[in-house]
């Protein structure tokens, strides 16, 4: 991270050292150049890292999407340009559109469920005793921290047709039709199980963040609302909601990004089956890329995915940036 260029020799080049004390009230003429350069200095390490370590690979994915790149070309370093062939191939595949719609719907449901639950739990956390709060936080952390292999294995195990504890419990409760019930026989129910797994692992982060945001709301605002004899719902509407809204918008946006791209959980469960019924765009990308070794086609799928994601989140992005501008 040494790519920090400063034009003013008088300015210390160490970006982490803005330690010039404000000379009590004295006119800060000398600080002008430094103050102007400071934000760029602070941003420089992050921007360099992102452009170098993410920007460049992404660019090469975009370039790859216009090439024919199978194992042969990859190992031999051959460059074969095919124009937009990869794009016409995937966009002309009717299955692609089914998968795209499924991905969008799945993402929407998972995001809605996890954000809503995360918000409720965050608000709940403010109401409970410190001990219970720690219990809840540790429980959520356990879910969050569970390695993917373990999480998918445990879920498969819980939902197992014969030995699964869920079916056994349901039968015990009197729902005899669940004896030997297969949770993975249709794409929809497979996606429901996967969705539950994703929501379960996504909530902790959302709840932690929203709780952190809620804790930051100044107490006096609530006191003011409380004195007015407002109900819980009114307090929420009047104080919590407006204060949390930017944060909520932010985590919703993030959830959309992650859940749209989620791959490992879906693949580990049923590889996008049965009959491709739980295949999402990320799985499709993997099938083309790693399974078939058509890396050019896979790159095109990735580009389309990002474009679709940008399209879906465009309104959000605009609102987000605008509201953040207004907040300052």
């Amino acid at each position: 991270m040494t790519a920090v260029h400063t034009t003013d020799a008088a300015v210390p080049t160490n970006p982490s050292a803005p330690r010039r004390a404000a000379p009590d009230g004295a006119p800060r003429r000398r600080g002008g150049a430094f103050d102007r350069a400071l934000p760029y200095l602070l941003l420089a390490p992050a921007v360099v890292a992102i452009l170098w370590l993410i920007g460049w690979p992404v660019l090469s994915v975009v370039i790859t999407s216009f090439r024919k790149l199978n194992l042969r070309e990859l190992t031999r370093g051959e460059v074969v340009w095919t124009g937009v062939d990869n794009y016409t191939k995937i966009l002309g595949d009717p299955e692609f559109w089914t998968i795209a719609v499924r991905t969008v719907v799945f993402t929407a449901l998972v995001v809605a469920a996890s954000v809503l639950a995360g918000l409720l739990i965050a608000l709940l956390m403010r109401q409970i005793s410190p001990f219970v709060r720690i219990v809840l936080q540790v429980a959520m952390l356990l879910a969050w921290a569970m390695p993917l292999l373990a999480a998918t294995t445990v879920y498969q195990w819980i939902f197992d047709q014969q030995y699964g504890i869920l079916n056994k419990t349901l039968v015990k409760l009197g729902f005899d039709s669940f004896a030997g019930f297969s949770w993975f026989s249709t794409g929809t129910s497979t996606l429901a199980v996967i969705g539950l797994l994703i929501v379960w692992q996504a909530i902790p982060f959302l709840a932690f963040s929203l709780y952190a945001g809620a804790v930051g709301i100044p107490k006096d605002q609530y006191e003011a609302a409380g004195i007015d004899g407002a109900s819980a719902w009114q307090t929420f509407r009047a104080v919590t909601w407006p204060e949390l809204k930017p944060l909520l918008l932010m985590v919703t946006f993030l959830s959309m990004l992650w859940d749209f791209k989620v791959f490992a959980q879906i693949w580990a469960m049923k590889k996008g089956g049965p009959d491709g019924g739980s295949t999402t765009l990320a799985v499709y990308q993997y099938l083309e890329g790693i399974s078939k070794s058509h890396f050019g086609v896979a790159a095109a799928v990735s580009v389309v995915m990002v474009a679709l994601l940008a399209l879906l989140t465009f309104q959000y992005l605009r609102r987000l940036v605008r509201s953040q501008e207004g907040a300052l």
Binding site: L71, R72, R76, Q162, D275, K292
Partner: protein, 427 residues
């Protein structure tokens, strides 16, 4: 544009390496000069440690200055690992590939052409089923490592108690044995005469082949699915008959890996399972009492007295085209293909790839059943596109689940799977 220049450089290096290999039959180059490292990747659980230890030691002893870097690869993520490793500047020198995925790597020219070395590598003894999987465009891209096929592993004590005197030799006898086991153990609600998960598609292959059908047939230069043929449907029907007759509690929406059928067999409440030799090993590990109470017989055919064709699963060994030590790699393979190590493979319970002497294998009942059915071994279509069927979404598994759970009729299930298979095989 560093990446592209890097690519070009490695391509040039590759060209040099390949050209070098074609002419270097002078041999003996390895005994002199600077120390070299030969990187060998074998898969988890494929060769016994006793074999690899002895092999690596012998190779290092006879090649001064050469270190064998032997690395056991895990199955999880192996596609990604191989893909990236083959593009690196310093790929492994010997790799193990599943026989059904070899054609893909060969067709993409990522493997070294070993046609000139076949006779050095015991070529006349190669297991024919695996040899085909190594041939692409008339060239040989590796050598067979080992193979194994499924047999019916059963409990001798339970068979005896149920009054079954000899292992079944026809489908009818097999069903009859299931009925007898069921009757004899009716008191135990946990008991399963046969454990058969819904997605054991390798078992299904046996039944389809036994009916004279196949999963796909060549059509011009490509392959097309053949799952909607009457033979394939008859195979599926027999699969269902087995599931119904045995009343197996195995999931219909999973294969023999979830849960591991060897663990289920290890609980002692299962009369038979259709599995590989290692699966019996796993079951015995879970329940050592089973060691003296198990044996195996070949999957019976619909024709009495014959055995059904079986899927010959196995591995090949190959040298990546980018290997820097191709000559050493060949010498290593030569040593491995010698009788001594092939016998060790057979002792370990698999059919050796480069030796037709299976006497070491037949020392126990399971090995005997294995050796008995191995000549009747068949492989999946030898098209580079087949690898994607197994590495991706396998339509045969979906077909089985849909048919067995009644979600689809036989005709609908086979038609859907056939369309999906044809699509994947078509690229």
């Amino acid at each position: 544009m560093k990446g592209w220049r890097g690519l070009a450089v490695s391509a040039a290096a590759l060209a040099v390496a390949v050209a070098g290999c074609g002419t270097s039959t002078d041999g003996g180059s390895s005994n002199s000069g600077e120390p070299k490292t030969l990187t060998v990747w074998l898969m988890d659980g494929s060769a016994p440690a006793t074999l690899t230890d002895a092999l690596n030691k012998e190779f290092q002893d006879s090649h001064a200055g050469v270190t064998v870097k032997y690395e056991v690869q895990k199955w999880n993520g192996i596609q990604e690992k191989l893909t990236t490793a083959l593009t690196s500047n310093n790929p492994p020198d010997v790799i193990e590939l599943g026989n059904t995925q070899t054609a893909k790597f060969a067709a993409e020219e990522t493997l070294l052409d070993l046609s000139a070395d076949v006779s050095d590598l015991n070529g006349d003894q190669w297991l024919s089923g695996l040899k085909d999987s190594l041939t692409w465009d008339g060239k040989q891209y590796g050598l067979p490592f080992y193979a194994a096929n499924r047999t019916v592993i059963y409990r001798t004590d339970l068979f005896e108690a149920a009054g079954i005197t000899a292992p079944p030799t026809s489908r009818d006898e097999w069903i009859a044995a299931i009925e007898k086991l069921k009757a004899a153990n009716a008191a135990d609600p946990e008991f399963q005469p046969l454990y058969l998960p819904g997605q054991s598609w390798y078992v299904l292959l046996s039944f389809i082949w036994d009916e004279g059908g196949d999963v796909a047939k060549p059509q011009g230069s490509a392959w097309a699915g053949a799952l909607d043929t009457p033979q394939a449907k008859a195979g599926l029907e027999f699969y269902k008959k087995l599931v119904d007759a045995s009343g197996t509690k195995a999931p219909k929406d999973a294969d023999e890996a979830t849960p591991q059928q060897m663990e289920v067999f290890g609980t002692g409440k299962v009369g038979m399972m259709i599995g590989l030799p290692w699966e019996l090993g796993g079951a015995i590990k879970a329940n050592p009492d089973l060691k003296a109470k198990t044996a195996a017989f070949p999957i019976p055919s619909k024709t009495a007295g014959k055995t059904a064709p079986v899927f010959l699963g196995g591995s090949n060994l190959a040298v990546p085209a980018g290997s820097k030590n191709a000559d050493l790699a060949k010498e290593y393979l030569k040593l491995l293909s010698s009788k001594k190590y092939q016998d060790m493979l057979a002792e370990g319970g698999s059919v050796p790839g480069t030796s037709q002497d299976t006497s070491k294998l037949s020392t126990n009942a399971l090995g005997k059943a294995l050796a008995e059915s191995a000549p009747n071994g068949k492989v999946t279509p030898t098209t580079p596109a087949w690898a994607a069927v197994e590495a991706g979404q396998n339509p045969l598994k979906d077909m089985l689940t849909a048919y067995l759970t009644g979600a689809k009729t036989l005709d609908a299930a086979t038609a859907d799977a056939n369309a999906a298979l044809s699509k994947t095989l078509g690229g």
